[in-house]
Subunit: 161 residues, 2 copies
DNA sequence: GTCCTTGCAAAAGGTTTGCACCAGG
DNA sequence: CCTGGTGCAAACCTTTTGCAAGGAC
């Protein structure tokens, strides 16, 4: 985790940005909640615990910066908020997601499943792919067994009714 | 196009919804701009030409209704607005998209490229897939040749700066 | 009459921006 | 100093909602 922070610090410096305390706290939160697909507001609340004086706007500005540097991916599951997902070390593309339509939980697929598909698209559609977004909507293991389950602890804050 | 409208009318009636003039005008607009990934505002402006008295709220309500009935897919390319994409006749899933990061154009892939991938996900992650969202971000044919091209006529209204 | 649907306006989020201020080279 | 970064509040935009009125059966 420490190494990751150093690496991010370098990437910032390489573009002549500073790793200010606010930015550091934000990155820490992202590192500590790597699996959680936090919204800007979520990040803000968590960062406030480390740096109570931080403003929401700074969090937005930091997340946007990290997104531009391709350190995080801004993703959208159609529930009205943007979520920010730290890229895996060295990954050159966004990973995939499984969104449960019952409990709202989101899990990740780190394995790249699109190698062949991307080759085909580049060949047949003459499109130069830089990145992708792949999300499956369906029913997670838990909700498949507990057929009526909707009282899970969802990773996603609130599935809109 | 006429048949499609009748089919949609039936689907509405099947759920005891009416095809009011406002709803019909909205569906017409979607049919006439099937390739265009319109936002609610876009749809509103176009519908106003046919039915000037319509309100924006009605357009939103109609689009939401059509989305629930799986007649349109609500999609999001990360530019801050939802776009509405008519499903192909009989399709049981959302089709794929190619978004050009230069000119903002969006084109569609109707062929389902995810058959094998979905099998693998259902098997290895025990996730019951109901639908998917797949979008590639990259450079379209036009922008690959005209290297500096950004003055294309974009299908997507405005790529946020 | 009853229920569905609509238009308008207001409200409700989420996100961005303007501006004064602060800190480090 | 000068610049980049920050906090606060206001502004902005998209989307949703409350409510009275209109229409079909």
């Amino acid at each position: 985790m420490k190494e990751r922070m150093d690496q991010i610090k370098k990437e910032l410096h390489a573009q002549s940005y500073k790793l200010t305390p606010q930015r550091e706290a934000t990155v820490e939160v992202l590192l500590e909640n790597e699996e959680d697909h936090l919204s800007a507001e979520d990040v803000y609340l968590l960062v406030k615990e480390k740096a109570p004086e931080i403003g929401l706007a700074t969090v937005y500005r930091t997340l946007e910066l990290l997104n531009e540097l391709e350190i995080v991916d801004k993703i959208n599951f159609g529930d009205g908020v943007s979520r920010y997902d730290l890229r895996k070390e060295g990954a050159d593309h966004s990973h995939h997601h499984l969104v449960c339509i019952h409990c709202g939980s989101v899990s990740e697929i780190e394995e790249d499943l699109l190698g062949d598909v991307e080759k085909k698209v580049e060949r047949d559609w003459a499109f130069k792919i830089k990145d992708h977004r792949l999300t499956f909507h369906g029913v997670c293991v838990n909700c498949q067994t507990e057929h009526e389950a909707s009282d899970e602890a969802p990773t996603l804050k609130a599935a809109h009714p």
